[in-house]
C-alpha cells in the first residue's frame, strides 16, 4: 500500500521536476547505457563467432599448415621433409585415434575455358572428406567421390559463382570444360554458402568461388608421385571436443614423427575459442568497470540531489510524521523514490545503449543487438544504484525530528 503510493509519488516527482530529474539521472543513464552496449557487443560478437564456426564446419576443425622452421642446421630427415604431403594424410588416417576426418587441400592455378569463356582460376584438389569437413555440399549433381580419387578421374565440381561465370544460364552438368588443356566433366554444382556479420557482405563468398577436382588428379597431373604430393594445407576433425587437447597433441605427434622436424603448425578452433574467451572476459570486465564507475558517479549525483530535495521537503516529512507515518514508512517512501528514479534512468539508459550499439554498428559493420537478458541486467544495476545511494537520504528522512521539521520555514 505504502509502496504503491510511494511509486505513484515518485512518478509525480519525476514529472514535476523533469529537468532536475534528468540532470540527476545523467550518470545512471550513461552507466546503464554503457552496460547495455558492452553486453550487447560482447554477446553479439560471441554469437556471431559461434555462428560462423557452426556454418563453416564446427569447432571440431583443426587447421594444419606449413611453417618454415627457420633453423639453419638440420638433420637428414628434416632436410628431406617437404612439409605437408599426401603421405601425412595417409599417416593421420591410419594412426590418429582422436581424429575421424582428414581433408587435405592442394591448390593450383589453371587456365579454364568453356567455349568462349576463358579465365585463369584457382583450383582446389580435395578428397570427399572436404564436404562434411566444411559442411558444404553439392546442390546439384554430386561431390567428388572416393572412386574419383582412387582413379584420379578428370571430373570437376563448380562453386555456384563459377558455374554462373562459365555457363551462364546453361546447365553445366555433364558438360566438359578445359583446364590447362585437358577436358574435365562437370559432375556437380555446389550449394550457395552464405554468412554475414553485417547483413550486407557475404563472408562465405570465397567458398562459392571454388573449383574442386580430386586431389589425386591434381597431384598426379603435376607429375608428382601421389605419396610425395605436396599439400597446401589440411583440416582434420576431432572426434570429441572434450578431448581437444589430446587430438591436437596426437596430430602434432604423428606429423612430427613423419617429418622429423616441426615444420608445420596446428590450429585448433577450440583452443582459439578459449583464447578469445579470455580476451573477451578482459574486455567485458574493462567495459563493465567503466559502466559501474559511471553508475557509482550517477549514484552519488542521485544521492546529492535526493539530499537537496530532501531539504526542500523537510516540512513534508514533518507533516507526514505528525499524521502518523512511522520512521520505517518514511524510509520506504524515500528509498522507493530513489530506486524508481534510478530505474527510470536505467530505462532511458537502454535507449542510450541502443544508440551506442547503432553507433558501433556503423564503425564495426556489425550491429550489436540488445538481448532481453542484457536489458534486465542493466535495469537491475540501475535499481541497485538507487538502492545503495538512496539509503543515506532515506535514513536521514526517517530519523528527522517531526517538531523541528514542522518548525522549518
Amino acid at each position: 500500500m505504502i509502496l504503491f503510493e510511494s511509486i505513484i509519488d515518485g512518478i509525480r516527482d519525476i514529472k514535476d521536476h523533469f529537468g532536475r530529474t534528468m540532470l540527476q539521472l545523467l550518470g545512471v543513464i550513461l552507466g546503464a547505457g554503457s552496460i547495455v552496449a558492452t553486453f550487447s557487443l560482447s554477446v553479439t560478437g560471441k554469437g556471431q563467432a559461434m555462428e560462423y564456426y557452426r556454418i563453416s564446419g564446427g569447432i571440431q576443425k583443426i587447421y594444419i599448415d606449413d611453417k618454415p622452421t627457420g633453423k639453419v642446421t638440420q638433420n637428414a630427415k628434416a632436410l628431406a621433409s617437404k612439409g605437408l604431403t599426401y603421405h601425412d594424410v595417409v599417416a593421420l588416417r591410419r594412426d590418429a585415434k582422436e581424429i575421424d576426418l582428414v581433408s587435405p587441400v592442394s591448390n593450383q592455378s589453371m587456365l579454364i575455358r568453356y567455349r568462349t569463356v576463358e579465365h585463369e582460376r584457382s583450383i582446389m584438389g580435395i578428397s570427399p572428406a572436404y564436404s562434411p569437413m566444411n559442411d558444404f555440399h553439392a546442390a546439384r549433381g554430386r561431390f567428388i567421390s572416393d572412386n574419383d580419387v582412387a582413379s584420379a578421374a578428370r571430373v570437376v565440381v563448380l562453386g555456384s559463382e563459377r558455374a554462373a561465370e562459365f555457363f551462364g544460364s546453361e546447365d553445366p552438368l555433364g558438360k566438359t570444360i578445359t583446364m590447362n588443356g585437358s577436358g574435365y566433366e562437370v559432375v556437380g554444382v555446389m550449394e550457395e554458402k552464405y554468412f554475414s556479420f553485417d547483413k550486407k557482405h557475404n563472408n562465405m563468398r570465397w567458398m562459392n568461388r571454388q573449383i574442386y577436382i580430386p586431389i589425386t588428379t591434381l597431384v598426379t597431373r603435376k607429375g608428382e608421385a601421389l605419396e610425395q604430393g605436396k599439400i597446401s594445407f589440411m583440416h582434420v576433425r576431432m572426434r570429441d571436443i572434450k578431448r581437444a587437447d589430446q587430438a591436437v597433441d596426437e596430430t602434432k605427434h604423428i606429423l612430427q614423427r613423419e617429418h622429423g622436424v616441426e615444420d608445420f603448425e596446428v590450429f585448433s578452433r577450440v583452443a582459439n575459442l578459449k583464447r578469445n574467451e579470455q580476451n573477451n572476459k578482459m574486455y567485458d570486465m574493462t567495459f563493465m568497470i567503466c559502466g559501474l564507475i559511471s553508475l557509482i558517479v550517477g549514484g552519488i549525483v542521485v544521492m546529492n540531489i535526493q539530499l537537496a530535495s530532501f531539504n526542500e521537503r523537510v516540512r513534508e516529512v514533518g507533516t507526514r510524521k505528525a499524521i502518523g507515518a512511522t520512521p520505517a514508512q518514511i524510509f520506504v517512501q524515500f528509498l522507493t523514490e530513489s530506486i524508481l528514479v534510478s530505474v527510470f534512468g536505467g530505462f532511458l539508459g537502454l535507449f542510450v545503449g541502443q544508440a551506442f550499439c547503432a553507433g558501433m554498428g556503423l564503425l564495426l559493420r556489425a550491429t550489436p543487438q540488445m538481448s532481453p537478458d542484457t536489458a534486465v541486467k542493466a535495469l537491475i544495476f540501475a535499481a541497485g544504484t538507487g538502492l545503495v545511494f538512496g539509503m543515506y537520504p532515506a535514513i536521514r528522512a526517517s530519523r528527522l525530528n517531526a517538531i523541528e521539521a514542522l518548525r522549518t520555514e
Binding site: M1, I2, E5, D9, R12, D13, D16, R315, E316, G318, T319, R320, K321, A322, I323, G324, A325, T326, P327, A328, Q329, A402, I403, L406
Partner: protein, 242 residues
C-alpha cells in the same frame, strides 16, 4: 504481579478524562544550560471539550502542544491519552497513536503541494493501512464536512488560504480521532476567514469532537468553552471547566 498492581493504581487517574497530565515537566538540554519549558503541568481534559491553550511566546504552550500531540515525550510525569499511558512509548508506537487518535491542524496548513486535495485527506488512512476504496470514501466524507468535496481533484495551490485550512481540518478528521489539536489555525488567515474556521471548530465541537486549540489571540480563545493559560511553564488559569 507488581505490573498488574501498577496498572490498577493508574486506572482511576486514566478514567478521569480523555487526557490526563500529571506533573509533566519538559527540560531541553541546549548545550551548557538547561531550559525548563514545562515545570510540572497537571491538567485533565474530558471527551467532548473545546479547549484553548493561551500564553505568551516562550511560555511553554508549544511544548505542551507537542506533548499532547505525542510528537514529544515528557521528561518526567505521566500522560494518559484515552486510557493509554503514552509518556514512555517508542517513536514507532507514538506514530501509531498520532495516526489513530490524533488529528493535527497547523498554522501553515502543511498540505502536500503535489498531491490532490483528496490524496492529502487520504494520507492518514494510507499510513493506517486502510484499503483504497475505503480511503477514498472516508476522505470524501471528511471533505463534505468542511464543504470541499466538490474540489477533491484540485491541488492545494488552486485553493484560497481558508479553503486550504478546511482541507487540513478534513485531513485531521478523516481517521475519527479522539482529539483534534489545532496550532494557531487562524494565524495565517484574515479575520473573516479565521472566524469561519473557528466556526467549523465550533460545529465540530457541537457534534461531540474533542478539540484543543493553541492560540495567542484572545478573541479566538474567547470562543472556546474552556481556556487554559500557561505562563513560564505552569498553568496559571483555567484548569477548571466553566
Amino acid at each position: 504481579m507488581s505490573a498488574i498492581l501498577k496498572f490498577e493504581e493508574r486506572k482511576p487517574a486514566a478514567a478521569r478524562g480523555l487526557i490526563t497530565l500529571e506533573n509533566v515537566t519538559k527540560t531541553y538540554d541546549s548545550g551548557e544550560n538547561e531550559v525548563q519549558a514545562l515545570r510540572g503541568v497537571d491538567c485533565s481534559i474530558a471527551a467532548g471539550e473545546f479547549v484553548s491553550i493561551t500564553g505568551p511566546s516562550g511560555s511553554g504552550k508549544s511544548t505542551l502542544m507537542h506533548i499532547l500531540g505525542c510528537l514529544d515525550s515528557p521528561s518526567t510525569g505521566q500522560y494518559w491519552l484515552d486510557g493509554e499511558d503514552v509518556a514512555t512509548l517508542s517513536a514507532r508506537a507514538l506514530a501509531r497513536i498520532r495516526n489513530q487518535k490524533l488529528g493535527f491542524v497547523f498554522q501553515t496548513f502543511n498540505l502536500l503541494p503535489r498531491a490532490t486535495i483528496l490524496k492529502n485527506v487520504e494520507l492518514p488512512l494510507l499510513y493506517a493501512g486502510t484499503s483504497t476504496d475505503e480511503r477514498r470514501e472516508r476522505a470524501l466524507e471528511a471533505l463534505k464536512r468542511v464543504g470541499l468535496d466538490k474540489r477533491a481533484k484540485h491541488r492545494p495551490n488552486e485553493l484560497s488560504g481558508g479553503q486550504r485550512q478546511r482541507v487540513a481540518i478534513a485531513r485531521a478528521l478523516v481517521n475519527n480521532p479522539s482529539l483534534v489539536l489545532a496550532d494557531e489555525p487562524t494565524g495565517n488567515l484574515d479575520q473573516k476567514t479565521g472566524s469561519d474556521i473557528i466556526q467549523i471548530f465550533e460545529e465540530l465541537s457541537e457534534a461531540g469532537q474533542t478539540i484543543v486549540l493553541v492560540t495567542h489571540d484572545p478573541a479566538i480563545a474567547e470562543r472556546t468553552y474552556r481556556r487554559i493559560k500557561i505562563v513560564d511553564g505552569v498553568i496559571v488559569d483555567g484548569d477548571t471547566i466553566d
